[in-house]
Symmetry: none
Amino acid sequence: MANKTAPDSPPGSAGGTPTRRRSERSRRAILDASLALVGEVGYDKLTIEGIASRAGVGKQTIYRWWPSKAAVLLDAFTADVDEYSAQGLPDTGDLAADLKLVLRATADEFNDPAFQAPYRALAVAGANDAELSRAFVDRLLEPGIRVYVDRLRAAQEAGEVAADVDTRVAAEMLLSPFSQRWLMRTGELTYDYVDTLVDLVLRGLRPGS
Amino acid sequence: MANKTAPDSPPGSAGGTPTRRRSERSRRAILDASLALVGEVGYDKLTIEGIASRAGVGKQTIYRWWPSKAAVLLDAFTADVDEYSAQGLPDTGDLAADLKLVLRATADEFNDPAFQAPYRALAVAGANDAELSRAFVDRLLEPGIRVYVDRLRAAQEAGEVAADVDTRVAAEMLLSPFSQRWLMRTGELTYDYVDTLVDLVLRGLRPGS
Amino acid sequence: MANKTAPDSPPGSAGGTPTRRRSERSRRAILDASLALVGEVGYDKLTIEGIASRAGVGKQTIYRWWPSKAAVLLDAFTADVDEYSAQGLPDTGDLAADLKLVLRATADEFNDPAFQAPYRALAVAGANDAELSRAFVDRLLEPGIRVYVDRLRAAQEAGEVAADVDTRVAAEMLLSPFSQRWLMRTGELTYDYVDTLVDLVLRGLRPGS
Amino acid sequence: MANKTAPDSPPGSAGGTPTRRRSERSRRAILDASLALVGEVGYDKLTIEGIASRAGVGKQTIYRWWPSKAAVLLDAFTADVDEYSAQGLPDTGDLAADLKLVLRATADEFNDPAFQAPYRALAVAGANDAELSRAFVDRLLEPGIRVYVDRLRAAQEAGEVAADVDTRVAAEMLLSPFSQRWLMRTGELTYDYVDTLVDLVLRGLRPGS
DNA sequence: AGCTAATCGAGACGGTACGTCGAGTCTTACC
DNA sequence: GGTAAGACTCGACGTACCGTCTCGATTAGCT
């Protein structure tokens, strides 16, 4: 829950000074402006001054609470995503079907332009900024992988997956080709591709294979 | 072989205007300076002015031939890499051993700091610039994947891999988790990891699995 | 009094936005640096960057308040001159003596290297920039002529000068040959020349001539 | 006749190397382009590259024959003017009428936009470049003054002007106010003004005044 | 008529300065 | 004390020209 990249605490939380007189109004305006702007002009042309002006806020108010535009964007993006990924994968007993269902939905999401700009920006901003990278992974990437690992482990316990399989590596075999394709634009994220990928990965997981 | 990001032609090539009389001396100095600087200060702090000054060159000479610092870096990086990846993967008849051998070597390479900075920078720059992304993929990423696809197809013809396997998807199952780990810093690229990955992927490829 | 070339108002003046909170420290440093540099390197080699660097100031601070280097120089030069020309010409009753006295002093001034560079520069810059020209004339040239016109008119009222003489034209007959000689370097500004000029001009002004 | 600012000699003249194989075609194109451009964009934005490109000429061809854009312009302007001013002032016996006639014509000329740009530019370029200034004065300004001095001297010999008058100073009293007005834009050059000026100057020149 | 060297159009080159943008810091006035 | 506003220094941007320097390709004058 603790925000690694921004030194803010929600009003009422237990900080050194119980309540920092921070304007919630400004905070929301800044996050909203960030998301709007990154969609309009792209990450490279996203500027602190632009965010401040769009949000009707002084630059200092941004600098006071966030260390960089990436951190702002991460907060903005995370706020929308946090609850979503907390619900886990469905478990109908049919592993292949469950994975295809969810990955197809994810493909739709990744093909949504509104989602692409900020996510790409963050994925990439992390590459040259180890600190931000950690925050991005911890808050967005890792939770996403975790639910797949959990589902695979459940399947393992149900005997649907061989006991000696490293579920973490298996999850990455599923997710990395998918996100790599999208990130590097090496191919389309179609339902066909998703199905092929799931099937091929699962062939290696079956007991006795 | 054609250079997609820089509008230059090697002297003597058949262009509309026969030869643009480009200074090879400057070209080399610029590429060298780019690689040196990206290693020293990182991609974000890499500037055209910095490259120009380090190379002892006017800024215009850079702008004349490249559209962005990313394009310069791509050329610089590619020049060193081109010949390397043209030789294909070994084929001893033992697919697992061959893959492990090469992936281990690649892991070493990715763990080399001199290689990391420019490669990360390019991966990242591509994400926010579709044009550059294509050049990056075509000139660096795709050739790297191709050799794996070729090796897998050879194995398929040798009956070592099931005939119905999509070798392209299989290659990505191998390479994407690997490069994703590195790019996002979600884990170390150890020999153990490589071996585990290769083994798990191959389980799904075997005929009759 | 109003500054035509710079959009600044002295702190405390009544503008739409009460006070623009301009740094007096920077303003002085810029004006001082301009005068110093124009003397050292000449107007052509005077650059905004040079002024900024010498003044220890960002370029933007200059561009924020002045439209061109000529405008800066005009302000710098005017600041030193404003009060000076407000005192009028002496009136001892002897017109010729009074004019010779003042013109000799002016000759000394025009022969002073510290004065030459900026004044020449402004005269020149004005020729190719009508806007600046107006400011130059209004703030430097015109006040200088005015005091002569006033003195001539006083002489006219005293009966020393014919009533039908256009004092403005007469003043120009006195001042233009003088400044033209200096500007075009067609001759030296000696006391002899000044005396000859005054005498010849006055011959035409005497009543009954 | 010798050109002080440009190291060229007309073909056939006696230089070290008797005949320099210079392209007359290029020379004309350069001078024409200069005049055209200075009229279109003004002196400040007149560039060597612009002239070269407009004239369809290599930059080097300009640099080979002229030291600066001012020198080019001076040549271009002089070529058109040289013959004109060689004919002297009319002498009908009525000095005032002769002066008014010619000065009115000159006023018309100075009010012609095509004439203004280059002449102003040259007058002014000289202020910061003593070398050019001398050339400008010698080739354009001085010959213009000379004809007035000659006419005044003739009048002096005819007893129309007092014998003790310095005709040079008198000529400047006539011409400087005129050109100063124009150069500094301190007033219009009307026929009225010309007449007033001539009359007032002549009042001081009459014998016995 | 052929030779040869100066001159030509073209434009790349190392530089300097331009005028603009944004970063991150600081100051002022308001609430 | 947090905030909106915005001036400040600084660094880099991408562009325009500078004056110099090759490149072939004319081309003029001499042999």
